[in-house]
């Protein structure tokens, strides 16, 4: 379970938010809402441990994530604005490497199956620099299929995706929640996951 208590964040002299507290339990999904610049990305980056909170604490299963370090990272899958994809490598190579970095050793068959489910059939072995923005995003999102992390932290996962891909992401989220996963995400597009209550957190 993810617990955030009394979190505060500022960029420069500007206070983005303070006194932020919430808890996310297994099987729950939460959308972080707010205008541009309200600190959505900063919050998600704090949850990943990239940024130190000015005040407050983030805990996982009752223990501070600062102390858990790698044990916590193993439970987290983060997808940010950047795709973490190398232009020179093929979609397949990219997926195998990013899965390896997150601690999962894939074989080629599993990786190909994941890419195909993401709608990249026939593009698996092309260098990603020839793929479109949406297709590159799909390569990055294929990590959702091959990860066993319990907490998904997704920053604008729907950018550049078409209607079909958005539907697929909703399906993947529903599957993840059904197996007691947790999702916290931001988006400016409408997103519905069937069968679960969408919690929302507003930053202003």
């Amino acid at each position: 379970m993810l617990e955030v208590s009394n979190l505060a964040c500022s960029r420069g002299d500007h206070r983005l938010f303070s006194g932020l507290s919430f808890a996310l339990h297994p099987g729950q999904i939460m959308q972080v809402q707010g205008a541009n610049g309200s600190g959505k990305t900063s919050l998600l980056r704090m949850l990943c441990g990239f940024m130190m909170p000015d005040e407050g604490a983030i805990s996982w299963g009752g223990r501070n994530t600062r102390d858990l370090e790698e044990d916590y990272y193993a439970e987290v899958l983060y997808l940010g604005h950047l795709n973490a994809i190398k232009d020179e490598l093929s979609a397949l190579e990219n997926l195998l490497i990013s899965a390896g970095l997150s601690g999962v050793e894939l074989d080629e068959k599993e990786a190909l199956a994941a890419l195909r489910r993401m709608g990249l059939r026939g593009r698996e072995r092309l260098p990603t620099k020839v793929l479109s923005q949406g297709q590159r995003r799909r390569v990055a999102l294929a990590r959702l299929l091959v990860s066993d992390a319990r907490l998904w932290i997704l920053d604008e996962p729907l950018t550049a995706l078409d209607v079909k891909a958005v539907a697929l992401i909703q399906e993947l989220m529903a599957e993840h929640l059904a197996r007691q996963g947790m999702v916290i995400f931001t988006t400016h597009q409408p997103l519905q996951v069937t069968g679960v209550e969408m919690r929302s957190l507003s930053l202003s």
Partner: protein, 233 residues
């Protein structure tokens, strides 16, 4: 659903191998970057005999110093790219979230960096040494020294690369930070060749270089990892 059961976990060594292999594949696909370092090294070293003139005695005396300084400078060239590409495309964020220690990943990147930018210099050095009419024995010591010393340059350089990540004009700052730290390597490296040319044993210099290498292996990955975490904020 295709996941959740029986997923194989990467081991620490598996992760190290993965990072090294990845960086080597990337280097092979951007070969120009690798060649620049090597060509720079060859050029700098070859300019000296032209500039100083063909006096064999003088060339022989300065050979070790020239080769070492050129190696130092050319290893600076590629340092800026060590983490910047991964930083810009978001891979570094993923590395920080790796369930294994970031230090190990960093060690992998350092190793790959050395294999791509340090090892070619070591292999090229005997040919260039001949230009300076270095005796075979001195050449041998030079190579051993470079083999021990160039990894230290990559590792110490990585700290600077991590600290200057994302800064504008980071390249110059990087050299200013790292070059002074590399002076001991330069002193012992050239000292070893000097010793053997005057008929003394080079063992003491080389063992000091070896000690520097061990020290760097133990401390620099951790320090670099901390520096990367600071730069990411």
């Amino acid at each position: 659903m295709m996941v959740a059961t029986g997923m194989k976990k990467t081991t620490l060594l598996g992760l190290l191998a993965l990072v090294i292999r990845r960086d080597l594949v990337l280097a092979m696909r951007r070969r120009a970057d690798v060649l620049t370092t090597l060509i720079f090294f060859v050029m700098v070293v070859s300019l000296f005999p032209l500039g100083v003139g063909p006096e064999m005695d003088m060339l022989r005396k300065m050979a070790a110093g020239v080769l070492w300084v050129a190696a130092l400078l050319s290893s600076m060239l590629s340092l800026g790219r060590l983490f910047s590409a991964d930083y810009l495309d978001g891979t570094l964020e993923q590395m920080m979230l790796a369930p294994q220690s970031l230090s190990m990943l960093v060690l992998g990147k350092m190793t790959a960096h050395w294999m791509v930018s340090g090892l070619p210099l070591v292999l090229m050095a005997p040919v260039l040494g001949l230009q300076f009419d270095m005796p075979v024995q001195a050449l041998g010591v030079l190579i051993i020294g470079l083999l021990l010393g160039t990894p230290v340059l990559s590792m110490v350089g990585a700290i600077g690369a991590a600290l200057t990540l994302g800064l504008r004009g980071g390249g110059v700052l990087l050299s200013l930070l790292v070059l002074p730290l590399c002076i001991p390597v330069l002193i012992f490296g050239t000292g070893a060749v000097e010793a053997v040319s005057t008929g003394l044993s080079a063992v003491s210099h080389l063992s000091l270089l070896g000690a520097l290498l061990v020290l760097a292996l133990v401390f620099t990955p951790w320090v670099t990892a901390q520096a990367l975490r600071i730069s990411m904020e």
